[in-house]
């Protein structure tokens, strides 16, 4: 049996599909718990639905490149395993890199260099799966105690909580923004971040008092920034 026949077998389709269904139980349970808790906290149903809608609309845009990266993985790993990996933790870059590392451990040139023996293929699947579980393993064992620490810091400093979380958020995305803000070798990237940012400020001003627009403000500003990078790129070339 060839590794691609194995990878494209009905069994593989069932295994991957079942796993995705099991993974989806989690957001279903959490969503129900959140709605219940929201009700206890006197939040309106509309407010919570709005959060879901706004987030769902935004998520469409960053999901689209994922399906293109799916096509990159199919020739080496078959139809179903990349479907699973890109639905759960992992990315095309990670899968390709780690799958190649695993293949090299067996003296294969790469995962795309022709036929892979089936036992090596299973080995690759295992290594790719295990390699990225660290964050989740941490969560299972340590997130609760970390959360308790953070909570105990928060209690007694109620006025400080929004100040510190804002500071943390700024530190986080400030760090992520810096490589793009200083990416002078790629003006489309600089245009994307600046135009998206300025648009977001403008749209937020306009949206004051208009709930519907506020819901769309973030994805809309992002699209404007992305479009600006196309224009700048077309102007340079």
């Amino acid at each position: 049996m060839t590794h691609l026949k194995l990878a494209n077998s009905p069994l593989m389709a069932v295994l991957c599909g079942l796993t995705i269904l099991i993974v989806l139980l989690q957001p279903v349970i959490f969503m129900a718990a959140a709605f219940k808790r929201g009700k206890e906290l006197n939040m309106t149903k509309e407010e919570m639905k709005e959060a879901a809608r706004s987030s769902a609309i935004f998520s469409i845009i960053p999901s689209l490149p994922i399906i293109v990266s799916y096509l990159l993985l199919v020739p080496a790993l078959g139809r179903y395993f990349p479907w699973l990996r890109l639905s759960v933790v992992g990315s095309a870059v990670y899968e390709t890199m780690v799958a190649n590392m695993a293949a090299e451990a067996f003296g294969l040139e790469s995962i795309t260099a022709g036929e892979i023996p089936v036992d090596v293929f299973v080995f690759i699947l295992f290594v790719v799966t295990i390699g990225i579980l660290g964050g989740n393993i941490f969560n299972v064992f340590f997130l609760k105690s970390y959360d308790k620490k953070v909570e105990s810091l928060k209690s007694g400093n109620a006025a400080l909580v929004p100040v510190i979380t804002t500071a943390m958020f700024l530190g986080m995305y400030g760090t992520m923004a810096a490589p793009h803000l200083t990416n002078f070798s790629s003006l489309p990237a600089v245009a994307a971040i600046l135009v998206a940012g300025v648009t977001a400020i403008g749209v937020n001003k306009l949206a004051a008092g208009r709930k519907k627009l506020k819901e769309f403000a973030f994805p809309l500003s992002m699209l404007v920034g992305m479009f600006a990078s196309c224009i700048v790129n077309a102007m340079i070339v």
Partner: protein
């Protein structure tokens, strides 16, 4: 009393569902090999997987420590199982808090973040499913269109800009250090060093940013 029990419930749900997910991830290659009578060399698998696990764990843990106080535990449990944490799940949660008007760190914000991350997970899973069925080859020419391609290549900076700039405007004094410090750091250590160590640098910047804001608050400049 009620507060406590909700907190504990989130962690119980989180732990159980993450364990279920991890077991089913592992079951895929395991069952595939068992049914097809393919030999598995477990020690060899572990020997090769462990160094990779270690490498990715350190940055993953740094990110989790940074994200949890902002999006809350429930949202983080989900985000880590389905991935795309910093470029989709955290922005989705922060945006939803913004739309709902709840400051991060409050319990209502945690509720909103959970709903947002769950909704985001459904959308991504559905799109990837459609991609696998038929959408990927149809969408690929749009993605590779020479005029449109920069849009997708620069999606992350556009996302960061749209998320970050309104926050800068909201807290301009607090923003000075966390925005300027990483920019200076890039010029000092170089782009490639910065990007390969970004998750560690991020923890440092977050801590300094929090201390700086704490200083501003104590001196009554903000708050």
């Amino acid at each position: 009393m009620k507060e406590r029990s909700f907190h504990d419930r989130i962690h119980t749900i989180g732990r159980l569902t993450v364990i279920c997910a991890l077991v089913s991830f592992m079951a895929v290659p395991f069952v595939l090999a068992m049914v097809n009578h393919i030999p598995m060399n477990i020690p060899q698998i572990l020997q090769n997987a462990f160094p990779i696990l270690l490498t990715f764990s350190i940055s993953g843990i740094c990110e989790n420590l940074s994200f949890m106080p902002i999006i809350g535990s429930g949202a983080l449990y989900m985000a880590c199982v389905t991935g795309n944490v910093s470029n989709m799940k955290v922005p989705a949660a922060v945006n939803a808090m913004e739309v709902a008007g709840h400051a991060p760190g409050s319990e209502k914000a945690d509720v909103v973040a959970m709903i947002a991350v769950a909704a985001s997970t459904f959308v991504t899973t559905a799109i990837v499913f459609l991609g696998m069925l038929f959408l990927a080859p149809i969408f690929a020419p749009v993605y590779n269109n020479p005029f449109l391609q920069p849009a997708f290549q620069n999606m992350v900076p556009a996302l960061i800009g749209a998320l970050l700039f309104p926050y800068i405007l909201k807290a301009p004094k607090q923003a000075i250090v966390p925005i300027i410090l990483p920019v200076i750091l890039i010029f000092v250590v170089g782009r490639s060093f910065f990007s390969s160590n970004q998750s560690y640098i991020m923890v440092g910047v977050i801590v300094l940013s929090a201390l700086y804001s704490y200083g501003l608050f104590k001196k009554k400049i903000i708050g």
